[in-house]
Symmetry: C2
Subunit: 332 residues, 2 copies
Amino acid sequence: MSSRVTLADVAQRAGVSTQTVSRVVNHNPAVRPETRARVLEVIGELGYRPNTVARSLATRRTMTFGIVVPDIGNPYFADVVRGAEDAARGLGYQILLCNTDQMPERELTAIEAFQEKQVDGIILCSTRIPEEDLPDTLRTHTPIVLTGREWVEGAVGAVHADDDRGLLLAIKHLLQRERRNIVFAAGRPGGPGHARRMRAWHEFADSAGYCAEQLVAIPCATNPAGGQEAASQALRDNPEVDGIVCFNDLVAIGAVHACIEAGKRVPEDVAVVGMTDIALASLVEPPLTTVGHAKHELGKQAVAMLVDHLASRAHEREIVLKTELVVRASAP
Amino acid sequence: MSSRVTLADVAQRAGVSTQTVSRVVNHNPAVRPETRARVLEVIGELGYRPNTVARSLATRRTMTFGIVVPDIGNPYFADVVRGAEDAARGLGYQILLCNTDQMPERELTAIEAFQEKQVDGIILCSTRIPEEDLPDTLRTHTPIVLTGREWVEGAVGAVHADDDRGLLLAIKHLLQRERRNIVFAAGRPGGPGHARRMRAWHEFADSAGYCAEQLVAIPCATNPAGGQEAASQALRDNPEVDGIVCFNDLVAIGAVHACIEAGKRVPEDVAVVGMTDIALASLVEPPLTTVGHAKHELGKQAVAMLVDHLASRAHEREIVLKTELVVRASAP
DNA sequence: CACGCAAATGTGAACGCTAACATGCTAGAT
DNA sequence: ATCTAGCATGTTAGCGTTCACATTTGCGTG
């Protein structure tokens, strides 16, 4: 029956001031052991629990972070959120969650709602807010860390995977296996990560002396349906296609389906490489070769950065997490 | 630059009292249109944003629900949380998330932390708090809705899927396909849903006149590894096994692997049926036949129940969501 | 033309806590 | 005995809202 017991109730019963009780609750050492014991006893008797809303009003800290993701149902973001929550919990912070389905207006609404709730910081994952609006959005007193994209003016920092190198790993892997007609199912143009991956794609094409035609990038939705569509289009345009690199693993799964539908064997006829290595990747048939991301770590680092910032501790402006090629059956 | 602007700042600048500004912000009709316009203008100029922490202290409502799940990385709970957040957002509520990895102490800690944060309600998913401790835990002023298990004294309500019937559907499906040596990979004894599914299992065995030996239930961890272990044990004990029903889809995926490892073909030699129909189920090879759960709906209903309760509206004490058999290749 | 009534606005106080300072007390130094 | 450090505790004033009431204003009525 822990109900409406306040500091004052405890103070009165224990015969001390509210301030002393507050000190006990907050582990302030400046309390005589006997007094502390007495207060703790009364706290136990009365079942007192501090009211963090009142505490937050007084301290101007809520010990809460908000995290904005496109969709927690997407295993990628589930892992990122999990990492963030683990780190936050360890540091005494709690996590407010908001899904936006990649709708910029909903991202903005979420940020404002979080700010009104006085969160101590916000983690904005793979935002779809247009590049040009971002600085304005970030120009606020609430620290914001970005994930899945580069740092931009106004943000406390950014945490993302090394997609450039990841993409390179994937392409090189395919080239070494004598794949010569490689296609990139590139995700949504304008979407987070798209520009970076495209840049890497073209840089590589140039440096390797490839003629542009040999490296085709096809925009697509970042889910199985998008991958299926992109892959079947690619195979229609050029039946010689023997390698597909995908924006993420969900796209790759769709691409695999498209190949099979088109009568191609994976990996014999077409090798498929995914990205991010979600749990799913090792469970589908064939298991996906993929460029692994440290998703859990991503969430953790985002929280760590926020906490460092709040403590006025120096920290990187941008953290780039290593990617690694995980070779499975879809591109052995 | 939306910083520390308060109601008082707005009031002073607009030449009215804080109360009037408060009325405008809260859409209280008892304000002259001209006054309202003036106040709104100043709010715009100053970039005022209400401080919900202060508001919550005064109103004793935080417009926040806490949700406790074993692991958001598990696609089942990701869907439930997504459903809850969707419903909550639509009603102006926000969601605090906590993962517990099925550790009862962490569930208790989470509940307490949420209470200190004065959440308006808690959704406790598939709790592993021992049956006998549950009433004490629930005996609190914060409304708690349970999911994934039956209602228990003290809870506002419970929302869960009709596993009894679901399990029946699975078994009957296998029997109709002339499978005669059926095994149940039953999940963790004492875990949520375990008792209910076991009861259904035995009830069916009795009613169908089966001798107990023909329906074996094997406890296992509720993940692919658990399923793999349980299935390989079952096949070792009885090579005749031709049907495996699984606690959930992750277990089913493990069971499929075990079958293949043991040289059995799925579904020709052994038919495998999963439960809950996570997105993964249709993407593995072979695609899983499974008993579908309305996961998104589960989260939604939990929130709806909480909101009804807070509004002192009548509501069911227990909502049982229908399950349906989704037939795919693993048990055609 | 005073009267009363409703609509519009204002006035404390409260929500439960902490920050910052003030006070009282004990004990060692002088 | 007196002074003074320094520890333990108390006091006061917010934190930014809303609540419950009090007050003012405008307007139709007898």
